[in-house]
């Protein structure tokens, strides 16, 4: 599965504990400043659940929380390491242009 932005945002949000749909949307908005729409959010959740990277917990008051699995944590970690290397390289190469 390709790492689309909503998938990364959802996995990142679940990295510190289980959350249901609305809690996910609010958390993602708070740490990324992105308002994920309900269709986008549940599209990402269904893809992640199919892949076994998140799993559903028993529903609480009709709201079903999701938690990240160990496979999901491994894939997120690998993706974030790569992304951080790309970001560090990009920023280092941009530095001369930005300071001149």
């Amino acid at each position: 599965m390709e790492f689309t932005e909503p998938v990364v945002l959802v996995l990142t949000s679940l990295a510190d504990g289980p959350k249901h749909g609305y809690a996910l949307a609010k958390d993602i908005e708070s740490f990324a400043g992105i308002k994920l729409g309900p269709g986008t959010l549940y599209g990402a959740l269904s893809r992640l659940e199919d892949r076994g990277w998140i799993e559903a917990l028993p529903a609480e008051d009709r709201r079903r929380p999701y938690q990240i699995t160990s496979a999901g944590a491994e894939h997120l970690s690998a993706h974030l390491h790569t992304a951080s290397q790309v970001a560090a390289t990009g920023l280092r190469r941009l530095e001369p242009k930005l300071t001149s």
Binding site: Y22, A25, G37, P38, Y42, L45, S46, E49, R51
Partner: protein, 293 residues
């Protein structure tokens, strides 16, 4: 129960998707509206989500990680098993010597002929692998073309190119003189094993990377089950043959080769069976598509 707008747009989603996520999505829409989210962008987002859900339900679905891993484990186990069985089966007619093989065959009429059983197992396993390989290759090519991933085509070329080069080398070895031919044959045999490993790894990379249709996964699951069953029969036949040999030739007979072969077969078979068993035991959250394999 009637749904408020824009949650009414859930009707646009595929039925199985709606059965699984509909209630949760409706609650989310309501929560977002209660907290002041603009319904107009939500409407477009829901329609986009519905279109994506339909595309996925028609074109394919994503295999659960455990089931995908099970298929990969079965493939690796099968390759190791088949290489061992091919070597053992090749030697079986004269193992440990032609006269002893004939003695065993004469003394144990009821013992199945291990060579023929292994041959049958090989044919059955190979047929299952080829039958599964066709839809996987077609889906992988479709995925590679749609997502502009030429690396998938390169991976798909590894098994046929490796086989072609290896068979070409075998032809050359046949023309060489006996001394250099023997050295060449040993080196080429080792290269052949490396080629099998590289080809298997290429196939596994394709299975890991690409998305396949539900039908393709089902065919893969059926093939994996057939292969695991063939491995069980092959391992059983090898054990029976070895015990018959020990009974005929005595416990002092050199059976270390048989023990090694049997150990490899037993371990690879156990890995394949356990992987399939584990993939079927995974707790099914009510997902839109059933997990197979």
């Amino acid at each position: 129960m009637s749904r408020s707008w824009p949650a009414a747009l859930l009707i646009a989603y595929p039925p199985d998707w709606r059965d699984r996520y509909g209630d949760e999505l409706e609650l989310l829409v309501r929560d977002l509206r209660d907290h002041g989210r603009n319904p107009v962008p939500m409407t477009f987002d829901l329609l986009r989500g519905a279109a994506a859900a339909w595309r996925r339900s028609r074109r394919g679905f994503t295999m659960s990680e455990r089931s995908r891993q099970a298929l990969i484990t079965v493939l690796w186990s099968w390759v190791a098993f088949a290489a061992t069985a091919a070597w053992f089966g090749h030697d079986l007619g004269i193992y440990p010597s032609r006269s002893i093989a004939q003695q065993i065959a004469g003394a144990h009429q009821l013992v199945p002929d291990a060579y023929h059983v292994l041959f049958g197992v090989g044919i059955a396993g190979l047929a299952a692998t080829v039958i599964a390989a066709v839809p996987f290759a077609l889906d992988a090519a479709r995925y590679a073309r749609a997502s502009h991933r030429n690396s998938v085509f390169a991976l798909m070329a590894v098994p046929p190119v490796t086989a072609g080069l290896w068979l070409g080398g075998v032809q050359l070895a046949g023309r060489a003189d006996s001394t250099s031919g023997m050295t060449f044959a040993v080196v080429w045999l080792l290269l052949g094993l490396a080629g099998i490993a590289a080809s298997t790894q290429a196939v596994i990379s394709i299975v890991r990377t690409c998305e396949f249709s539900r039908t393709t996964w089902r065919i893969g699951a059926g093939a994996a089950t057939a292969v695991a069953a063939a491995m069980l029969v092959g391992t059983g036949a090898t054990i029976v043959w070895g015990l018959a040999f020990r009974a005929s030739a005595g416990h002092s007979a050199g059976t270390s080769g048989w023990l090694i072969v049997m150990a490899i077969m037993a371990v690879t078979t156990a890995r394949a069976v356990l992987a399939l068993h584990a993939s079927r035991r995974q707790s099914p959250t009510p997902a839109p598509a059933p997990a197979v394999a």
